[in-house]
Assembly symmetry: C2
Homo-oligomer: 322 residues x 2
């Protein structure tokens, strides 16, 4: 027999979550890296965007063999990072370990193994197959440029706990940037988790069926908007598979959390159509058949639109300040 | 509140599983590729090993956003494949999509992005950084050799259903090889699943907690040993986190399924110590501190040992035939 039910367990608040879960070991070190990055670009007058990308996991065991994962290769986040860099932003790329990354995404998770791009030359050296060399050169040039400028910072996470502790730390540091920071929350964050103290120490044995009862992960957009970065420009994503729910649920999120934009997308068509939803508007971005045929990426439309709205956000904040 | 309990739901038999679940769309096409590969190497008198590698997933929704995954980067399978090729085997590498692969494993899932190995040369061309070129050349030479010889066939899976249908098809085709085929089952296969017909169509909504009740995945080693490849040399893996259970559970598996070898390993030390367990022996393979310091891979010890035992298996079968 198999059942799948929403239970009615109590939802803990974010403070309780942080008090009862363990921060990742690398948190202090990552905080230092972020402080340095933020100071540097703040002094240079450069805007910074935090991009979260890829799915978080929920371990089912303390010595983890099994976990619940959220479907996300990290394509949206990795692709968007490149366009934000093009628009002059410094990018903090907070991503699931081994998910797609800007630039290298063109050569990973592909049908071809990376070695298929390489060849042994007649002089005994190793090089890039001439068929692939021009594109790879263009990608490498961009990658090296942003690496040299230090406008791209990588942070990684695996579990939902790693993600939440890191998100709180990074946003608190970035709050010094006020309106000049954008938060682009593209990661697929788990909704349910098993608290560490209630988890079995060892691998679950497989004799018979299995019943898992999980708690809801607290909604972190609320404290983020209210306390962590009250002046930031915050963009969240709503991914659904059922079109009937999409717009209503997105608007509900804006009302509930008080942030600026929800990018609504359906799993099946997310690479060619999204809707930017604010409290009083809906703006559809949709690739034409020609654009799809030319491999235009929808993020090349989304990011300039968001940048424009971020400009307005900063201008309006300046007026308030005067 | 959170609970984690083994239930007592009935275990369906493998036949029922195949009747009530949907085969992957690519099954027919993959069967043809395997037939061609098996015929070719059988005619050449070459032994074939089927390696399964990486973890299977269990979707929680029909339009999948969430799934349960098993921890496995595919390191054991990908590394072992290289040593089997070195020993003269043709390898069917049946792996989780995007998990590690032989040869390219040296450059993926690493701290370095693949682009960090490349450089722009002074003449404007793109090449491999001289620091990395010698090793990459050696890896590429091996990769191209096995590609040219067509001794390496890739098949991929994502869900546990993909895996099981593919395993049944491939092993049935390989059964023609009798004692000359080895089956090296390194994949981390899910123990629990939600049958498709009981799964919600759309993304589970996150209001409140969640209770999942799952059925046990039937144990496929039994029909594999008894019906699919009765003459094959079958090696399975037992991964545990609790040392107290390891040997007993491995021996129990041998008794229950009737195959030849269990490679027992503990999650924490699996890269430096394993035990090869047969019905009447235990053989420990353990790297020395010096070997660990020299980056010796434990698979370079495991595969020759298995090959020796496979020799014996074939010799004994020949005696029986006479």
């Amino acid at each position: 027999m198999s059942l799948l039910d929403n239970g009615s367990s109590e939802i803990i608040n974010p403070d309780t979550y942080f008090q009862t879960n363990t921060p990742p070991r690398t948190l202090g070190e990552n905080e230092n890296r972020v402080k340095e990055f933020v100071n540097k670009h703040n002094e240079a007058g450069r805007r910074i965007v935090l991009i979260t990308s890829g799915g978080t996991t929920v371990p089912l065991e303390n010595s983890t063999v099994r976990f619940i994962d959220n479907f996300s290769a990290g394509t949206r986040g990795a692709t968007s990072a490149e366009y934000f860099l093009e628009m002059g932003y410094a990018v903090i790329f907070m991503h699931r370990q081994f998910s797609l990354q800007p630039y290298s995404r063109h050569y990973s998770h592909s049908k071809n193994c990376f070695l298929d791009f390489m060849e042994l030359k007649s002089d005994g050296s190793i090089g890039v197959n001439s068929k692939y060399a021009p594109k790879m050169k263009a990608v490498l040039e961009k990658y090296q440029e942003f690496k040299k400028n230090e406008t791209l910072l990588f942070l990684d996470f695996v579990t939902v706990a790693d993600y939440l502790f890191l998100l709180r730390s990074v946003t608190r540091i970035m709050s010094a940037l006020k309106e000049h920071a954008m938060y682009y929350l593209a990661a697929a964050v788990s909704d349910f988790f098993i608290p560490a103290q209630k988890m079995p120490q060892h691998k679950i044995q497989s004799d018979g069926g299995l019943t898992l009862t999980m708690d809801q992960v607290p909604k972190f957009l609320k404290p983020m908007v209210t306390n962590w970065v009250p002046c930031g420009f915050i963009v969240s994503f709503k991914l659904e598979t059922d079109p009937a729910l999409l717009v209503d649920k997105s608007r509900h999120a804006l009302t509930r959390y008080g942030h600026q934009i929800v990018i609504a997308n359906l799993l099946a068509i997310r690479k060619r159509e999204v809707i930017l939803i604010t409290r009083d508007s809906e703006f559809q971005i949709k690739l034409t058949e020609d654009e799809i045929a030319e491999n235009i990426e929808i993020e090349s439309r989304i990011i300039p639109e968001l940048t424009k709205r971020h400009d307005e956000w900063i201008r309006n904040a300046d007026h308030v300040d005067m």
